[in-house]
């Protein structure tokens, strides 16, 4: 694990195993990731790679089978259920993929924000901050509207507005643009960017390249392991604690025998087929 003093959340060797009638399924096989404060971090990878499992663990909705998770400075791995709930109240907000799943049909946008403020025991100035967020997200005219009166993009932006009430350490979003058209998705990502610029930390699982483009850091998951990490500068391969490096899928075809010859020289390391 890299030491990150400004990290909003850290996952250290996180393992998640789901029991199933057909045998245990390993969803995460020792993942190390850091979500830096004020940064948009994207998690990408094929379906079943462990993105959603990682998000559920980091948001305190689930526990890791092994490993350590720190959110907002709180070590969550050993927390009781009540402790996890308290952590969720104080430090994490969660935005689901389907817009309709993020909002309650009988509450207005304003009531969603007030509900979040009450649950998170947001301070006296929460309303001003919420109004700012609503303006930032272009929802200032939709405060008294119920979900069915909003478009899908507006619903998702309203969900983000409610998520940032009380300034949680981390906002987790699971494919937030997955069910939106491109124009609505752009609106939502602009909103995410604006909120991040205001200091909100985002962890977003996605298949959407537009989301990756917005993110400052992207983690690539494959088969429950961290395959690669890329920043705005350049892509990085990840070396796990066993010293293993995952090759990008397109390079694996270069090694049909699944064997490689590693050569070290002064400039670095070369991996070639035998």
């Amino acid at each position: 694990m890299r030491a990150e003093p400004s990290a909003a959340a850290i996952c250290d060797s996180v393992v998640k195993v789901y029991p199933s009638p057909g045998g245990d399924v390993m969803a995460l096989a020792g993942v190390d990731v850091t979500f830096e404060a004020g940064v948009v971090t994207a998690l990408v990878g094929p379906s079943g790679s462990g993105k959603s499992s990682l998000l559920r663990i980091v948001s305190g909705l689930d526990r890791p089978t092994a490993g350590r998770v720190v959110v907002g400075g709180i070590e969550t791995s050993s927390l009781s259920s009540a402790g996890l709930r308290a952590m969720r109240r104080q430090s994490v907000a969660y935005v689901w993929q389907r817009p309709a799943e993020n909002l309650v049909g009988h509450l207005t946008v304003g009531e969603h924000l007030r509900l979040a403020a009450r649950v998170r025991r947001a301070g006296a100035g929460w309303a001003d901050r919420a109004r700012e967020a609503l303006e930032l997200l272009g929802l200032e005219d939709r405060v008294d509207h119920r979900p069915h009166q909003l478009s899908g993009g507006e619903q998702q932006r309203a969900a983000f507005a409610a998520a940032v009430v009380g300034d949680p350490a981390l906002v987790v979003a699971d494919e937030p643009t997955g069910e939106l058209d491109s124009a609505s998705a752009e609106d939502v990502l602009a909103a995410v960017r604006s909120l991040a610029d205001r200091g909100t930390t985002f962890a977003i699982a996605t298949h959407d390249p537009a989301v990756v483009a917005v993110a400052e850091r992207t983690y690539h998951l494959r088969h429950g392991s961290l395959a690669a990490e890329s920043t705005t500068d350049r892509p990085l391969a990840v070396i796990d604690k066993g010293g293993r490096i995952q090759l990008p899928p397109e390079w694996r075809d270069l090694f049909p025998d699944a064997r490689a010859h590693i050569e070290m020289d002064e400039d670095g390391m070369r991996i070639v087929p035998p």
């Binding site: 948001s59 709930r85 109240r89 993020n102 909002l103 049909g105 009988h106 649950v119 200032e140 069915h148």
Partner: protein
């Protein structure tokens, strides 16, 4: 800044929270319906018990002439003596609750009356009873005239009328009185309850006895003037009547009155008290005490079964609330998941649910109480209920509602836990669990108890009949378990059918697919409807079997529909629709054995058509037996009833009469199973005549039996000049509290069956509501492919109709099976034949058969209208 108000707490936000379930009508309706059942189940039992007990009090007090207690003393009939006693007694009865007027009756016997100018003298009694003129049928004379009132028969016998003077003699003394008027004899016509306490002065006290002397009625002043002149000793009787307030006949009020009467009787019996000293150890009677005891026994006898049902209903309703809570969480899982992600605990979510469900549960409980209150008032034996029972039912409904709210909160918390846990598949596992096996195992245990222990109605020492709870538990468990299994197999068949439905007509295809797409709801709905039909059918089957058996037993005891003693053998004129016969009864001594045996003489020509007969009483038809009875010579042919030993000779009127036993029969009309020799009256008369004696001379009792409608039969015997007050009817026998306790239990069960049917209909509404969205979408899609409105209506009819049809068939079959198994066991008097036979209530099942398509058709029309009005685009958008 704009729209600041949207972030502030809305005024009356708590009210919106209370009404939030109105936004989820299916959930709200499920909670409300379950709470309504809860309220009904909790409140109905105490109300029904009160209704039954009060009805017994009402009938008992009516028979007793509304008299709480009576004091009778021998006294010199002088104004000062009687006045003192009356004042003292009136002072004492003030302490009795619900007491009304005290009616004084003065009477003297051993008198004779004749016209003042001479003529034939007749035995009479002199009677004064306060307010008597309002309770006699005046034939002649003015009500304000002074003097004495003669009965019509007496006036005719001594040839006296209004204004005539009559001479009343008591031993050597005599007094002259003016006839004020003439009234119809009291034993003619329908008896007036006013005279009920004096029945001994009006009617013969036993069969075959001569009627008492005709009463001369007089006002108190006239009576005392005559008695002073005649120096009469007589009887002073005080009837303490219940107040005219209708509520005084409620069970509680009558119980308080009975307690007061007991104290009064003790006070009267004590010479140390003023009233005891004044009345000097009078005879006392306390009808209200007996009536209240009967009422309590009846109430206690039905309390067990009623409470069993009540508890079963409460448990079912609580399960319903639990299911509603789980359904509510499922329906609102977005909200639950969101709040869980926000960090709200299941307990906090449960508290929210508590707040949200409190109003519908409370409203449902209140409506349930109201339905129970109105239902018992309309369907119970009487609408008059004890205030304490009403208050108790309110408390029980309130407590049940509190329990309901708690169960709802528990269900919500559990469902939230299951919903928010990744591995939350436990509820689905529970839903799939074969609960029917448990119900059937318990049903088998109950049946084993019934068959092995001989469980049946037990008669307690107080005479009340108790229904064993197993007789009620078995059918409910059996029908529930078997219906669940049957419906489960139907649903699995439905899944297979949905595959083949592609080749069916479009409406049938749509209906099959819709049912197959929500098998759990279809399973639940069909099972609930089958259970309601089953309970209704079982209660109806047992109730009908019981009614017929009880009526048969009653007619066996009475002999026919109506029986009345007659002074002599009468000519019985024919009357359309009525079948009369005359019967004689006499006690004789067997010549060869000690003791006595009853001889029942019947008329072979008319007996078969008039008497009740069950083929199980004898091995041969009644006609053959009667024919053989009429073939007597010097020996008397007889049927031997019961366990009496064969009698070769009887001693009758001092003559030994040989008897030829023809056949032993198990029971005989009018005698039940008691030891009896049944003979032909003409043969008996002939044999007696050969010894030079007649029937009259051996002390026979003459009876007239009439088969036919009771009212007409009673009018018929009145037309013969016989007293209707002495009429015994099978209907009155059946109405006795000990019989009513049994029948009331099954009436209550039928009411519960109706309630269950209402719940099943509510289930249909819930089902329609729950499937509304899916139906709308499917209709939108199908109509684009050419489905007509009529076709869709038929599809809905098939969908609902098939569920109800399956329920009706399964429920009816199971009810008939349970009824056939248990009919013989529900016998209030097992010792008295005939045993109850399996009698399915055809009209009830016909009504169910009609209700099924009608309900399906109405539902189809309503659904089609609703679908036509709905905005499909808006529905789809709202659902996301």
């Amino acid at each position: 800044m704009a729209h600041v108000s949207g972030l502030r707490a809305a005024p009356f936000g708590w009210l919106r929270r209370l009404l939030v379930l109105s936004r989820y009508p299916a959930v709200g309706l499920a909670v409300f319906a379950s709470a309504t059942i809860l309220g009904i189940s909790a409140a109905a039992a105490p109300l029904f018990e009160s209704s039954v007990a009060t009805n017994v009090v009402q009938l008992g007090m009516r028979d007793a002439g509304r008299v709480l207690a009576s004091m009778t003393t021998r006294v010199q009939l002088a104004d000062d003596v009687v006045g003192y006693q009356q004042r003292t007694l009136v002072d004492a009865v003030r302490a009795v609750p619900n007491v009304g007027r005290v009616t004084t009756t003065l009477s003297a016997t051993g008198l004779r009356v004749q016209p003042a100018d001479g003529g034939r003298a007749k035995s009479v009694q002199l009677v004064s009873r306060g307010g008597f003129l309002s309770h006699v049928h005046v034939l002649a004379g003015e009500s304000d005239a002074n003097g004495v009132w003669l009965a019509e028969s007496l006036a005719g016998a001594i040839d006296a009328g209004p204004g005539d003077a009559v001479l009343i003699r008591a031993g050597a003394r005599s007094a002259t009185a003016t006839v004020a008027g003439v009234y119809r004899d009291l034993f003619v016509g329908v008896p007036d309850a006013f005279w009920a306490p004096l029945s001994a002065k009006i009617y013969p006290t036993a069969e075959g006895e001569a009627p008492p002397p005709s009463p001369i009625l007089a006002g108190r002043a006239t009576m005392l003037t005559l008695s002073t002149t005649l120096e009469l000793f007589g009887t002073a009787r005080w009837d303490v009547r219940v107040t005219s307030d209708r509520s005084a006949l409620a069970y509680d009020a009558a119980s308080h009155a009975a307690a007061g009467v007991r104290r009064l009787v003790a006070e009267v019996a004590s010479p140390a008290t003023p009233v005891g000293s004044a009345l000097q150890a009078p005879g006392t009677a306390a009808p209200v005490v007996d009536v209240v005891r009967d009422a309590r026994a009846t109430r206690d006898s039905i309390a067990g079964p009623l409470r069993t049902f009540s508890i079963a209903g409460v448990v079912a309703a609580l399960v319903g609330l639990l299911a509603s809570a789980v359904y509510g969480v499922r329906r609102r899982r977005t909200e639950v998941r969101m709040l869980d992600a926000l960090g709200l605990s299941p307990a906090a979510l449960g508290a929210r649910a508590l707040l949200e469900t409190a109003l519908p549960v409370a409203a449902g409980g209140a409506v349930g109480w109201l339905i129970a209150r109105i239902g018992v008032a309309v369907g119970g034996p009487t609408a008059l209920l004890d205030p304490s029972a009403v208050a108790g039912s309110v408390w029980q409904a309130a407590l049940a509602a509190v329990a309901g709210i708690a169960v709802t909160a528990f269900g919500t918390v559990s469902a939230v836990r299951a919903e928010t846990q990744p591995a939350g598949t436990r509820f689905r596992a529970v839903a799939r669990a074969p609960w029917e096996a448990v119900a059937l195992a318990l049903a088998a245990a109950a049946l084993y108890e019934i068959l092995s222990r001989g469980t049946g109605p037990a008669v307690s020492p107080d005479g009340a009949v108790h229904i064993d709870a197993f007789l009620l538990l078995f059918p409910v468990l059996f029908i529930a378990g078997a219906a669940g299994l049957a419906v489960r197999s139907l649903v699995s068949g439905l899944r297979r059918a949905s595959g083949a439905a592609v080749r069916w007509p479009v409406p049938a295809y749509l209906a099959t697919r819709r049912l197959a797409s929500s098998p759990r709801i279809a399973l639940l709905l069909t099972t609930a409807a089958a259970l309601s039909v089953g309970i209704l059918g079982y209660a109806g089957t047992i109730g009908r079997s019981l009614d017929i058996a009880t009526n048969d037993k009653a007619r066996l005891v009475v002999g026919s529909d109506v029986s009345v003693p007659a002074p002599a053998s009468l000519r019985l004129p024919p009357s359309p629709g009525l079948h009369p016969t005359d019967v004689v009864r006499v006690t004789a001594s067997p010549a060869s054995a000690p003791g006595e045996i009853t001889i029942l003489g019947v008329d072979p020509a008319t007996f078969a058509s008039a008497a009740f007969w069950d083929p199980g009483f004898a091995d041969r038809p009644l006609g053959e037996l009667l024919r053989d009875l009429g073939r007597g010579g010097t020996s008397l042919p007889a049927l031997v009833v019961g366990s009496s030993a064969s009698v070769g000779e009887i001693d009758l009127g001092g003559f030994a009469i040989p008897v030829t036993p023809l056949e032993r029969v198990r029971a005989f009309p009018g005698q039940g199973t008691g030891s009896t020799l049944v003979v032909a009256t003409p043969v008996l008369e002939r044999i007696l005549a050969s010894h030079g004696i007649s029937l009259d001379s051996v002390g026979v009792t003459f009876l007239v039996w009439v088969r036919g409608p009771v009212a007409r039969a009673t009018a018929y015997v009145e037309g013969l000049g016989l007293s209707s007050s002495a009429v015994r009817t099978a209907a009155a026998f059946v109405g006795a509290p000990r019989f009513r306790a049994v029948s009331s239990t099954f009436v209550f069960m039928e009411l519960l069956g109706v309630l269950a049917a209402v719940v099943a209909l509510l289930g249909v509404v819930l089902y329609l509501q729950a499937r509304h969205h899916a139906r709308l979408v499917s209709y939108a899609m199908s109509s684009r492919m050419g489905l007509t409105r009529g076709g869709h209506r038929v599809a809905v009819f098939l969908e609902i109709g098939s569920v109800l049809f399956a329920s009706a068939v399964v429920g009816s079959v199971l009810a008939l099976v349970a009824g056939a198994v248990l009919s013989p066991w529900v016998d209030p008097f097992p010792a008295l034949p005939p045993s109850p036979a399996f009698r399915p209530p055809i009209p009830l099942f016909a009504a169910i058969a009609v209700a099924v398509p009608v309900t399906g058709a109405v539902a189809a029309v309503i659904v089609q209208r609703r679908t036509d009005r709905a905005n499909v685009a808006e529905e789809l958008r709202y659902a996301g």
